[in-house]
């Protein structure tokens, strides 16, 4: 094996080993409990995929620039058992997502709850995943 192919094999090996870690991880590995965040914006779409669903939301910043955030949520079956449905959020809905930002400062966050356009608050994260220092979740004011 020459050096080039050795490096390539090593790189492939690292990549394969890293995939499950990136895809399915603990809260602490990727998100920062010291960075609570609340986003307001337009719901774009939802990826109902394992091991984590992803909510995509367009957020307009102070300069009027639109940035699409990717908000990690529970896997599809967990959301479904909590009462979420395919049409719970519709494209263009003005929603509010509350949770914790990614450690690396990217436009990714861990979703604890979503406040819908009609004021309902739907929980989308497993509270057990949070460290005890996490601030409490907001209440559902619609009830």
């Amino acid at each position: 094996m020459n050096l080039k192919s050795a490096i390539l094999s090593a790189a492939v090996g690292v990549f394969i080993a890293a995939v499950p870690v990136v895809a399915h991880h603990s809260f602490a590995a990727e998100f920062d409990v010291a960075k609570p965040i609340t986003l307001k914006g337009k719901f774009v779409k939802m990826d109902w995929v394992n091991p984590h669903s992803q909510i995509h939301i367009d957020v307009t910043d102070a300069d009027g620039k639109v940035v699409t955030w990717s908000c990690e949520a529970l896997p599809p079956n967990s959301l479904y058992r909590q009462g979420w449905r395919k049409d719970s959020l519709k494209p263009g809905d003005e929603i509010e997502i509350e949770g914790f930002q990614a450690k690396d400062g990217t436009t990714n966050m861990w979703t604890r709850s979503v406040k819908t356009a009609d004021g309902r608050r739907m929980f989308a994260g497993n509270a057990d995943a949070l460290p005890p220092t996490a601030p409490a979740a907001p209440k559902d004011e619609s009830k």
Binding site: W48, P76, Y80, W84, R85, K86, D87, S88
Partner: protein, 261 residues
């Protein structure tokens, strides 16, 4: 003129053999009394598999192509044996065909969907209870629980193999399947559907070792009307036969590395 005559002759032959096949089927069906399970249900239990192994490559009439053996259509409605695609959908199907290696979600080891899983060349086992029938497929640990207890479909989420609710109609198990995602195909040739797909399956035992599988398919986003497939399944009679484990990803990884095939 000569070619027209030849065409007519072929048509006559085709019609004749179709009628003959139909006649044989109905005579055999009339003579065969479907056994009952201890619960009194028509007994479809056993391990079944297709012998027509080209349908999973292409459900329509097709010549051989790279990775696709030739075969005849399993579509019995409409009579021309073709999927009644809307014009724009047919164009997408042709694109799918061209890009089939990358675009077929089966090649990424995703679940095959219904009805494709039925005529893939892998065995599956049917178990019946009064409340549900369970089908355990060898292919990547798929199973379907077909509830026959009068419950309604789960609505509001999509699944690879859909949501199945069945009832017994005479000797047949009739299964209504909805809640599909739009990621699966009917075969390896790009024949596709949207998430509005609705499938009604009918399983009818036609002899001790044969089961006729029919599936009526509709999807107003993709087809101009309903279409239907029909394909026989055969029972495994080897005394030591059983459904084994077939994992996909490990073999796909091997193939990607140039081995495993």
């Amino acid at each position: 003129m000569q070619s027209m005559l030849a065409g007519l002759a072929v048509l006559a032959l085709a019609l004749g053999s179709a009628q003959l096949a139909q006649g044989q089927n109905s005579t055999a069906r009339a003579a065969y009394k479907v056994p009952r399970t201890p619960d009194g249900l028509p007994d479809l239990q056993g391990i079944w598999q297709v012998r027509n192994t080209t349908a999973a490559f292409d459900v329509q009439d097709h010549a051989g192509a790279l990775g696709i053996p030739p075969g005849r259509s399993i579509i019995v409605q409409p009579p021309d044996g073709k999927i009644p695609y809307k014009p724009e959908a047919l164009a997408k199907r042709q694109d799918n065909f061209k890009n089939r290696d990358a675009a077929d979600s089966l090649n990424k080891c995703y679940m095959p969907g219904v009805p494709r899983i039925t005529y893939m060349d892998f065995p599956f086992q049917i178990f019946e209870t009064p409340k549900y029938t369970l089908i355990a497929y060898e292919y990547i640990h798929n199973y379907r629980t077909i509830f026959t207890n009068g419950t309604k479909h789960l609505d509001g989420l999509d699944w690879w193999n859909g949501d199945s609710r069945g009832h017994w109609d005479g000797d047949s198990l009739v299964v209504d399947v909805t809640d599909f995602n739009d990621q699966t195909w009917f075969d390896a040739s790009g024949d596709y559907h949207s998430d509005k797909l609705h499938v009604v399956e009918r399983y009818t035992r036609t002899g001790p070792d044969t089961l006729q599988y029919e599936a009526s398919i509709e999807d107003p986003e993709v087809y101009t009307g309903p279409w239907k497939i029909s394909i026989p399944l055969y029972r495994h009679t080897e005394p030591n036969f059983r459904v084994l484990e077939y994992e996909c990803q490990a073999y796909a990884d091997e193939a990607a590395k140039g081995g495993g095939r």
